[in-house]
């Protein structure tokens, strides 16, 4: 991108046609109102009276066990599955009043298997929606170039490749770029990292969070993995069987105060530990490095950790260091403070889980 566009998320959805290249200007509020989906011949609803609002520019993770209808709920939004009841509003506008194909061109769509077109080059894949919208060639070429740079692939080298010539992670990134091409105000992502090995998945998740910092889209993200939900979501909607909303809240609220037994079980017995992964050392009040404000002091050879480390990972290091304090360093490697087990305990005892800036990477 040229000038990094830090633009105000719009409350209302413009049509994507109006946005030029270099723009990631749009995000729209998404509202599900008493949404139901029943299939003929089935007694139980697939989705029952689901209501939730995703503020513009936030990531809402739909999570739940299989059969909870999370993918169905997502596919109702771009009308790949027709609604039985209720309404869905994007930027205040009902999707029911929209022509489905036109609606879908304004909603980014990423699926687990990516679904890149194998017969088209990476550049042509990314150009799919702009072509459907009738953009001129120059504008499309500029946009493709910009998006490839955004996802960290060399435009000159990668645009002409075919999907079969990419790694799984690269394909997934191209899938995201393709979904972003027409600057949609809303993105739907169905287990986008589900088919990636754990190491690359963590990297792609981090990359995606960094990307989201730039583009600030409203995102509906489906996963069955609660850890991924906690990591990716500004808000998490936990669905139970029958598409019933069990809890819709921020990750820390869900971990601190699960609404019921189902949620508590779903997030796991280790939810206190999970909460620690929401906080980085930078957000803690650390002890002074010279040991002046406490009895704690660290030997010169104490473990050093960067302050971007999560408290969860730091706790693990503390335990393996036999409880010796850790030295926390800043970006230049200077020691800015000490971390002891006592502080981690203090954080856990804190009933109010810290609101976090976990998105910063």
């Amino acid at each position: 991108m040229g000038a990094p566009a830090r633009l105000m998320p719009l409350k209302t959805a413009d049509t994507a046609h109006n946005e030029g290249p270099s723009a990631f200007a749009q995000a729209a509020e998404l509202e599900l109102r008493d949404v139901s989906k029943r299939y003929p011949g089935q007694r139980e609803a697939a989705i029952g009276d689901l209501s939730l609002t995703v503020p513009a520019g936030e990531v809402c993770v739909l999570v739940g066990p299989s059969g909870s209808g999370k993918t169905t709920a997502m596919r109702l939004i771009n009308r790949l599955i027709p609604l039985s009841d209720g309404d869905i509003l994007i930027g205040g506008r009902s999707v029911l009043q929209r022509e489905p194909r036109e609606l879908r061109r304004e909603i980014g769509y990423v699926i687990q298997q990516v679904g890149l077109f194998p017969h088209l080059t990476v550049g042509e894949n990314i150009a799919t929606v702009p072509r459907l919208l009738g953009w001129d060639k120059q504008r499309i070429a500029a946009r493709v170039h910009e998006l490839l740079a955004l996802i960290g692939l060399d435009p000159e080298e990668m645009a002409a490749r075919y999907p079969a010539q990419l790694s799984g992670g690269q394909r997934q990134r191209v899938g995201v770029a393709r979904a972003l091409a027409a600057d949609p105000p809303l993105m739907l992502m169905d287990e986008p990292f589900g088919a990636i090995d754990p190491i690359n998945r963590a990297r792609l998740q981090d990359e995606f969070l960094a990307l989201q910092q730039q583009v600030r889209k409203t995102i509906v993200f489906v996963t069955h993995d609660i850890d991924e939900a906690i990591k990716m979501g500004d808000r998490i909607a936990i669905l139970r069987e029958g598409g019933v909303l069990a809890q819709y809240d921020t990750p820390s609220e869900i971990l601190t105060r699960p609404a019921d037994e189902f949620v508590a079980q779903f997030v796991g017995a280790d939810r206190a530990l999970k909460r620690l992964s929401l906080t980085t050392l930078a957000e803690l009040a650390l002890l002074a490095p010279d040991g002046t404000d406490s009895a704690a002091s660290a030997p010169a050879d104490a473990l050093r950790v960067p302050r971007e480390t999560t408290v969860h990972d730091a706790l693990s290091l503390l335990l393996s260091a036999g409880g010796e304090p850790l030295q926390v360093t800043d970006g230049d490697g200077r020691v800015v403070g000490l971390l002891t087990l006592a502080q981690v305990q203090q954080l856990l005892c804190d009933d109010r889980a810290p609101t976090t800036l976990k998105k910063a990477s």
Binding site: N78, L80, R101, E102, L103, R104, R105, E106, Y109, I111, Q112, Q113, V114, G115, L116, F117, P118, H119, L120, T128, V129, L132, R161, Y162, A164, Q165, G175, R178, A179, L188
Partner: protein, 237 residues
């Protein structure tokens, strides 16, 4: 018999070369003398017969396959009918058509087309069905209409299977068209038939036969090249 430049029966008495007179295995001289009057017209007719049959057969098979792709119940009856057509002995089919249609080019084309249908229908349908579900899902999810998905995604991805079907159909019909002569006086079957009726002289038989084989190899090769040009992605990765 349709002849362009005089009788194709070698005139032993008048202007025969010694090769022809002594009936060597193959006489280039005869080929040179009769290329313009016998072999070239037969080859040209052969190419036209085959091209028309494959083009018409492809159009019909494509329409049927697209219909069967959308409405599954069409598949079985289509397979049944085209298989039936495919299994009718070719000589019998040619003769069967003479009574209602006549001993003409239309009968010949009906017979040839009917032999392309099974191969082409099956391959086109297989190609369309081989398109991965997630590719179609993302096409639909990004806002393509059915027609756009068909033309921009499904048919291009079905191309390798379609061209594979075309290769089989073309080679089959090139061979089969050599018996069109039984009802219609055209194609490489004409000089082959003439030669077979002429006793020991083999040059005409060999020349026409080799032309039929060469034509099949050439057509197949051209289709392979077409596939390479049209589906560069299939070799990527």
């Amino acid at each position: 018999m349709q002849t362009v430049g005089g009788p194709v029966i070698p005139d032993y008495a008048a202007h025969s070369s010694s090769c022809v007179v002594h009936n060597h295995a193959f006489c280039w001289g005869w080929v040179n003398e009769n290329w313009g009057s016998v072999l070239w017209p037969a080859l040209r007719q052969h190419v036209l017969l085959v091209a028309a049959a494959v083009a018409i057969g492809f159009a019909i098979a494509l329409a049927l396959a697209l219909a069967a792709h959308r409405y599954r119940r069409i598949e079985r009856p289509t397979i049944f009918v085209t298989t039936l057509l495919y299994t009718i002995p070719s000589l019998a089919l040619f003769e069967l058509l003479v009574a209602p249609v006549g001993a003409n080019v239309i009968s010949a084309e009906i017979a040839l087309v009917s032999y392309t249908l099974l191969i082409l229908f099956r391959n086109i349908l297989t190609g369309l069905r081989s398109v991965p579900a997630e590719v179609l899902d993302s096409a639909e999810g990004m806002g393509m209409s059915r027609g756009q998905a068909l033309w921009r995604v499904e048919l291009p991805l079905a191309l390798p299977a379609i061209i594979a079907g075309l290769r089989i159909a073309v080679v089959t019909i090139i061979a089969l068209a050599t018996i069109v002569y039984t009802i219609y006086d055209a194609g490489l079957g004409v000089p082959i038939h003439t030669a077979l009726g002429e006793g020991p002289f083999k040059t005409e038989l060999i020349a026409a036969g080799v032309l039929a084989i060469a034509l099949a190899l050439l057509a197949d090769g051209l289709l392979v090249l077409a596939q390479r040009a049209l589906t560069p992605w299939a070799r990527a990765g």
